[in-house]
Amino acid sequence: MERLPLEICMKIFYLLDYQHLAVAQQVCRKWKLVASENALWSDLFKERWGEDHAAFYAPVGSKSWKDVYEVQDRCDRIGVGLKIIREGIDYYLIHQGEIQRHLGSRKNHEKEIGHCSNTLNSESNFNGEGSLAEERSCRGILDRILFFIGDLEVASAEAKRSRVI
């Protein structure tokens, strides 16, 4: 099987949207680099949200245009408020599209140690440390509650979205 040259792949990538670029990134390491190019994702951002938004949200520091695109897409889907959501099998605490905290995943939720009762009592206290004396079963129940909230948020977001369409 003959390979296509990389410049042809780049031409094709410019014609794909972000979902299909995500597929392309999973093909191999080289494709991950090429399909993550800032020029590609900045074009997609401008196409979807306009030049003014692009100028305002231009990435700084080590961030990339792909990261900025992801955050903006999450804002569109979920809103800018503080929310618990699920992406894949993982649950996250989201604020203004940015991931504030990784809450765990269903596969290994029993191994998570980061959860504590303070999280429910005070939303602003995200770095609070739990009591070491807390029982494992309590953590399990807390995880389930948080995951349920994430599932509920995702389901209601989809419901709102379909209603708009």
Binding site: L15, Q19, I145
Partner: protein
Amino acid sequence: MAKESGSSKIEMLEISNEAMAEAQSSKIEMLEINNEAMAEAQSSKTVTMKPAEAEESKTETQKITDEESKNVPIAATEEESKKLSITKVEESKNAATATTEGEKEEAKVSLKTLDGVTFEVEAWIAKEMETVQAYIDDTSADTSAAIAIPLHNVAGRELARMVEYCKEHRRASVSAGNLKEFEERFAAALNLYEMKDLIIAANYLNTKKLLESLSRCIAKAIKNKSVEFVRDYFGVTNDYTTEEEAQYRETNAWAFRNVDEDSRN
């Protein structure tokens, strides 16, 4: 009381798990349906291509010569209508012996392909292929008329398709509707792997319009295809470890969520 509320919530979680399982199974079914549709499409294309290939191989030389004589470079609209009438007359004489009138009208360029076939094309077609045009510019005018230009990376079938594309594209450029219709017809005649061979040849010869057209076709073809299909089609080796692959799949889960939503709509 606390235990009862906990157990009821756990039950609700189980219900949502079942819903997720159903969604995944329906997604798998959709993928299977897509695969079946693809198989049918490919088999039908294979059947239709065979007579076309047979015809191409038989009348290739005569067809090229006829088409060369048809294409007279005239700019004015009235003269283009005359050209069309001339084309119709010549089409009715298609069975007749190939004429040599075309050679007198304009200088021709000889192109020799990888498998030894020599093509004679109009100068304006050679100009479309920037690699060929650069070669002509580097050579003196006297020798370029006599010697066939070797194309080491291009097969005869691909070059025939490219020449055909250039001619039809110029003819169809009269109106935008015709042009779009032509490009769709041209793309429909190729399967994915022929498209790939042709785009490699177009890239080597730097035929820009054909390159853009084929890029669009291939991009359209690989949309909504799986990672494994894209790997196989592009001939790319998977150098991820299993853990890395799973990790990236999760990292890009945000993009796949919209795929689910789109499929539901």
